[in-house]
């Protein structure tokens, strides 16, 4: 009897899980559009490459912020470490981009794991301070180790070899394809992770850590794991940036990187993976337009967007989608 009951329950759970993790048609549409954009705007490869990288970066933050509820003010630490690792390794004769990517990921993962124990202690405030502190320390280190990182001048003369036989061209076509493919692959992995029992346990922790612990979720271990995963993703994004632009400077570790990525995730909405991707797109276009209008003071408008977004409610995209859905559904009008 009991075994039968358990079996039914398990079947129900599996069914629920399959339904929740099934691909929605809009998701297919999204990726088709992404692929189409590659061929539709051949003159915009450089911009799109950057968007893809920022999208991956925000995806990494969404994993820890949207799913585990950990606020980080220093996510740029991992991004920057990835960028510098990928850059420095070419100085030692390792020019293959994929090996560089692997090394950068390893470095960022190691840093993520090492700092997670600190960053996950205490309250939100402590986390803010520690994450910010880690990023600042890394910035200082990169600044001081001038012989290795080029200091304030940035890492000059990176020599990145061809990727699987394709040389990086100046129009960024190869770079863009490279970044988009890496983004897509990592997105698939992230999607798998957040729809796994592991991912659901993260959401339980985010919503109520005490209850999650009470039903037997190892809160600390899960947080460490997802923080490390997020760090690894950010490291990949940083490495992509360094490899495709053949340059890394202190800018990749600066505070505004951490703030920008928070903004991107916020614009798109946290906790459903696509938020970061959409946010990166909106953010980059907005930044491009604004910095053309007011090269020096565009920060003001970015700040204004943040303030308005918070005061007006961060779920604007969700509400817009609901509105569109209601309008397009036949016979939905009351």
């Amino acid at each position: 009897m009991t075994t039968q009951r358990i079996a039914t329950l398990r079947l129900q759970a599996v069914g629920l899980h399959d339904r929740l993790s099934a691909w929605h048609w809009s998701e297919y549409l999204f990726w088709v559009l992404v692929a189409a954009s590659y061929f539709l705007f051949p003159s915009r490869h450089l911009l799109m490459n950057e968007i893809a990288i920022l999208a991956l970066f925000s995806l990494s933050l969404d994993l820890i912020l949207g799913y585990a509820g950990v606020i980080s003010l220093g996510h740029a630490a991992f991004f920057g470490l990835g960028a510098y690792t990928a850059g420095i390794i070419t100085k030692f004769g390792v020019t293959d981009p994929l090996i560089g990517l692997g090394c950068a990921t390893l470095a960022a993962t190691a840093l993520g794991l090492a700092t997670s124990f600190l960053a996950l202690r205490g309250s939100d405030l402590t986390r803010l301070m520690v994450t910010l502190g880690v990023a600042l320390v890394l910035y200082e280190i990169a600044n001081r180790l001038g012989w290795l990182t080029g200091g304030a001048d940035g890492l000059q003369g990176m020599d990145v070899g061809p990727i699987l036989g394709f040389d990086f061209d100046i129009f960024g076509a190869v770079a863009n394809a490279y970044s988009l493919i890496v983004l897509f692959v990592l997105f698939l992995i992230a999607r798998r992770v957040v729809h796994s029992p592991f991912g659901w346990s993260l959401r339980a922790i985010r919503d109520n850590p005490l209850r999650a612990a009470a039903i037997g979720v190892p809160v600390r271990g899960r947080l460490v794991a997802v923080y490390t995963l997020g760090a690894a993703y950010a490291g990949v994004a940083g490495a992509l940036l360094a490899q495709t632009t053949q340059f890394a400077s202190l800018d990749v570790l600066a505070f505004h990187r951490s703030a920008d990525v928070l903004l991107m995730v916020t614009i798109g909405g946290v906790g459903y993976l696509y938020g970061g991707l959409i946010g990166a797109l909106v953010f980059k276009i907005m930044q491009d337009t604004l910095s053309n209008l007011t090269p020096q003071y565009w920060e003001f408008w970015i700040g204004l967007v943040l303030v308005v977004l918070v005061l007006g409610g961060r779920d604007w995209l969700e509400r817009l989608a609901a509105l569109v859905a209601r309008r397009t559904r036949p016979g939905a009008g009351r």
Binding site: L118, G122, G133, R144, Y297, I302, V310
Partner: protein, 286 residues
């Protein structure tokens, strides 16, 4: 050695005046006001403009900076912050970052991105020997003013009716409200005083900390350290944390200049490993 201790002491006192407002707002309303530094910067600029461009005496500029920033604090509290008290910490952080970006750009637009200096009276630039310690007159002034502020804050907090209301509200907002304490009013006043003190600190500290549009970002980490290490349960916690931070920072920059900037982070990490909830008492976790 003693000179460094003295300088660090002055620096720490300054940090305390700058950050104590943040500690109280955090303890009282659980508001992570990362934009606290913006008030300090505002104070610095108000004082600079008055003293340098309009010939107001330096010692008149300081109280004016306090008053202007307190007024700014009230306006900001009523217009902006009141909307985000009940929001999540993420919302508060985003809001404050947005605010910092805006303030940065505005100050940059009107005053330019360069470092500003306040013309302090000549006699404050002196250094003299006292019992073998080289004492800077300006730093002595800072210690005097900040010490006075710290003592009066402590007295107000422990000896007056307002202080007991404030402490009650910090301990439990709902019960305090139930007892008939007008928590919103208490909070508005506290916010105003906190912002005013930040402004005063910014004006007083422009000589030591520098003054430019990036000020709120540059010192954000210092304020955060003071508050997390010191806790929000009392005034003494942040005070001691500020002194520790000030002395560690100055000593680090002097004795091991190559690692100067890392010393405070090392201290911070050690403290966190040792006492995750801060050195002194509790940190707001609600």
């Amino acid at each position: 050695m003693l000179t460094n201790l003295f300088d660090g002491f002055a620096y720490g006192m300054l940090l305390f005046v700058l950050a104590c407002g943040l500690a109280v707002t955090l303890g009282l309303m659980n508001l992570v006001n990362l934009a606290h530094g913006a008030f300090a910067m505002a104070g610095g600029y108000v004082c600079m403009i008055l003293v340098n461009r309009h010939g107001v005496p330096f010692f008149a500029g300081l109280p004016i900076a306090f008053i202007v920033c307190a007024a700014l604090g009230v306006v900001a509290e009523r217009l902006l912050y009141t909307h985000i008290y009940r929001r999540s910490h993420l919302d508060q952080v985003l809001f404050c970052i947005g605010l910092i970006f805006m303030v940065d750009a505005v100050v940059d637009y009107f005053q330019g991105p360069q470092q500003q200096f306040i013309n302090i009276p000549d006699f404050l630039k002196d250094r003299f020997e006292f019992l073998g310690v080289s004492v800077g007159a300006y730093r002595l002034l800072i210690i005097g003013v900040c010490g006075l502020i710290a003592v009066s804050l402590q007295l107000v907090l422990t000896r007056t009716r307002f202080g007991s209301r404030l402490r009650a509200a910090v301990d439990d907002r709902r019960v305090a409200r139930g007892m008939g304490i007008n928590v919103d009013l208490v909070f508005m006043l506290t916010f105003a005083v906190g912002s005013g003190l930040a402004g005063l600190g910014g004006a007083l500290g422009a000589e030591i900390l520098g003054l430019d549009p990036t000020f709120p970002l540059k010192y954000m980490i210092y304020f955060l350290i003071v508050v997390t290490v010191g806790g929000t349960a009392s005034i003494t916690g942040p005070f001691l944390a500020s002194l520790l931070l000030g002395v560690a920072d100055v000593a680090g920059k002097y004795y091991i200049p190559d690692f100067g900037a890392f010393v405070i982070y090392t201290v911070m990490i050690l403290v966190l490993i040792w006492r995750p909830q801060g050195l002194f008492g509790r940190v707001a976790t609600r």
